[in-house]
């Protein structure tokens, strides 16, 4: 039994980019930022970390990248213990509020971080040009960072995080300050990165963005992981079939499903955990009573709805207080 557990653990390390079993962080002021975090990110996936302000997302990322010293940590990153120095050369990181030196050009900045992770000079130069092209900054490559907009600096940050061809790239709010076109481009870059087998750990407030690119997500609330898994799995419970029709709501509707009034005189009839086939009789009944059916579709809770549910206090119905609690 012990052998099989060990094997299972080794196997888990082999397939996990990040495997955290217990992470605690209490800051000097007594703020308990992380409370027993357990999280697993598989290799080659895009993993999204969500949470309200002060939930501990950035602290968690900083623990993994050794910027913050954990109070307690059990787990691995790329198969090695957290804090293992050589492993850091295989990680790319873009901090949330980064401040790159204004005296460097975009190209110098990317090359500098390449050197800091041990990328050989000739390869560094080649990679810098490739990445600057990828993030759309080649034309600005030899201008100083001090002259860049926030979005342009963000692109340089992404290129810098990728210069060492990392196995795991951690991006904290990568689209912060980037215009919609840029966001789309960054999203494409992330998908390209995944195509090459690199694991992406994405920390973002933009739920729509996360929903579009992430394979799996975790929601953090007040220093704890509230939910984690594939988006489809997390929203499975909310799956329903929805019929949209015009006209008055029939009296029998409330008996077969939930009715919701919509605009332009329409109503939606929702059947939780139903299938398209199982609602066909209801569809026929609506038509037979002269109502016009405008749509029939499977629906599920959006990531935003799921997120809001997790960050809302069920007793008060209001959002949980911002930030982590002070340790007692």
């Amino acid at each position: 039994m012990a052998v099989s557990l060990a094997e299972s653990h080794t196997e888990s390390h082999a397939v996990s980019a990040l495997d955290l079993t217990l992470v605690d962080k209490i800051y000097a002021g007594g703020v308990h930022a992380l409370r027993g975090i357990a999280m697993r990110v598989a290799r080659g996936e895009i993993f999204g970390l969500l949470g309200p302000n002060g939930a501990g997302k950035s602290t968690l990322v900083k623990v993994v990248t050794t910027i913050v010293r954990p109070t307690r940590v059990e787990g691995t990153v790329l198969g090695n213990p957290i804090g293992h120095m050589p492993t850091l050369a295989r990680i790319g990181y873009l901090p949330e509020h980064h401040r790159f030196p204004a005296y460097l050009t975009g190209r110098q900045c990317v090359e500098f971080f390449g050197a800091m992770t041990g990328v050989e000079s000739s390869r560094r130069k080649r990679r810098a040009s490739e990445l600057l092209d990828t993030v759309g900054m080649l034309a600005w490559a030899d201008k100083r960072l001090g002259t860049y907009s926030k979005g342009m600096q963000q692109r340089i940050g992404i290129a810098s995080a990728m210069v060492n061809d990392p196995d795991l790239v951690i991006l904290d709010e990568p689209t912060d300050g980037v215009d919609p076109v840029g966001r789309r481009e960054i999203r494409d870059v992330l998908l390209n990165i995944r195509e090459r087998g690199t694991t992406v750990f994405l920390n973002s407030h933009l739920l729509s963005e996360i929903e579009l690119v992430c394979d799996r997500v975790a929601i953090m609330v007040q220093g704890r992981v509230a939910r984690q898994g594939k988006i489809e799995e997390l929203t499975r419970e909310s799956h329903c079939v929805r019929i949209v029709f015009s006209g008055d709501s029939p009296a029998w509707a409330a008996e077969v499903g939930g009715v919701r009034a919509m605009d332009r005189g329409r109503h939606a009839l929702e059947f939780p955990k139903a299938t398209i086939e199982s609602v066909q009789p209801t569809l026929d009944r609506l038509r037979s009573e002269g109502r016009v059916v405008h749509g029939l579709a499977e629906a599920r809770e959006s990531l935003e709805a799921l997120f809001m549910r997790e960050v809302t206090d069920p007793t008060s119905g209001r959002a949980r207080p911002i930030g982590a609690e002070a340790s007692r």
Partner: protein
């Protein structure tokens, strides 16, 4: 190229770019060159001093008294090192490098510490990059001075280059304070102010130690002189005032000595900036073979020095000789070793705090 070397090179290149982007670096470099140009513009001949094409006749200052090589060596030692490098150039260097550590802990520190480099190595490498500034400044100043001495003085004195390591060590005392303060407070202004206050503080301790050493030495010389007179005194009447003076001198010595010992102990624990500069001056004077004041001059001073610090019998010549003997007992390791030990302890503390910090 291994990873450590690659990272160190990258940090040094980055420091060069940072300095290069700062106008103050180039201003300081140009000022260094200008100071040497001023020294080079001065000349000496058998009639007096020349300034470019102008000639100032001076009876006391001419090449018969000061051969040109000694003239330039003295200018380099007294004005170049004693004034320019030890004060103005050092202040310029402190101001120019003041942002390095506050920038490190507030700027891109998170990106840097997430790379495979230990925080200790990052801290010490950043410190070394700050020293680059002084290295560049002193190297330019010394090289130009070497050329001036060679071309104008006719002597190619490679010994001048001793100024480079000594000034670097001198600057590192102050820069260590600024580095630690910068990384602790994250404030450029606070780190500069504390460093300047520290500089004033160690200068005050040095001045106090030297003054109390003088006081103690005067009393020691006084006691020796009185005891010699007592040996020769024949009558009780003649001995009485001497014995009273001896008792007074012993009481005074009892006051001076503990104060001096306390200041000496304090100074031992602190960087010895003044002694380090004196070390350089002594080396330069030895290279230049500048003569010390002759005995006649000393005798005159000795007469004039009677009554110094309440003494009646101590002669200035004897006091000065005793102080020189005392100063010679202070070895090089005491001047540089204990200063560098202070610096190492301070930087060790700074690096330890930096390595324990969350960013």
């Amino acid at each position: 190229m291994n990873l450590q070397w690659m990272q160190t090179s990258a940090l040094f290149v980055d420091a060069y770019r940072e300095l290069n982007a700062r106008k103050l670096f180039w201003i300081a470099l140009v000022l260094n060159a200008l100071v040497v140009a001023v020294i080079g513009a001065l000349g000496i001949d058998e009639k007096g001093v020349t300034v470019l094409v102008w000639h100032l006749e001076m009876t006391g200052v001419n090449s018969a008294i000061f051969p040109p090589d000694q003239f330039y060596h003295t200018l380099f030692a007294s004005f170049g090192v004693g004034f320019w490098l030890a004060w103005i150039s050092t202040i310029l260097a402190l101001l120019s490098t003041a942002t390095i550590f506050p920038e490190l802990v507030t700027g891109g520190v998170d990106t840097l510490v997430s790379k495979p480099i230990s925080r200790h190595r990052l801290y010490f490498t950043k410190f070394a990059t700050g020293l680059l500034f002084t290295l560049a400044q002193v190297l330019v100043f010394t090289t130009l001075s070497f050329l001036v001495l060679g071309i104008r003085g006719g002597v190619w004195s490679f010994g001048l280059f001793i100024a480079v390591p000594i000034m670097l060590v001198f600057y590192s005392y102050l820069y260590s304070v600024m580095a630690v303060m910068g990384s602790l407070t994250r404030s450029v202004i606070a780190s500069v102010i504390v460093t300047l206050l520290f500089w004033v503080g160690i200068w005050a301790v040095h001045a106090g130690e030297q003054f109390t050493l003088l006081g103690e030495t005067v009393q020691n010389v006084e006691i020796t002189a009185i005891e010699r007179r007592l040996e020769n005194a024949q009558t009780v009447v003649g001995r009485a005032p001497l014995e009273a003076d001896l008792a007074n001198a012993q009481v005074a010595l009892g006051v001076w000595r503990p104060i001096h010992l306390s200041l000496y102990a304090l100074k031992t624990a602190l960087p010895k900036a003044s002694e380090t500069i004196q070390l350089l001056n002594r080396s330069l004077k030895q290279i230049a073979d500048v003569p010390t004041p002759d005995d006649d001059e000393m005798n005159d001073s000795a007469v004039a020095g009677r009554g110094f610090l309440g003494s009646k019998y101590a002669r200035r010549r004897d006091v000065q000789a005793a102080i020189e003997r005392d100063m010679k007992t202070r070895p090089l390791w005491w001047v540089l070793g204990t200063s560098l030990a202070f610096e190492a302890a301070l930087l060790g503390f700074g690096a330890w705090r930096f390595s324990r910090r969350d960013f």
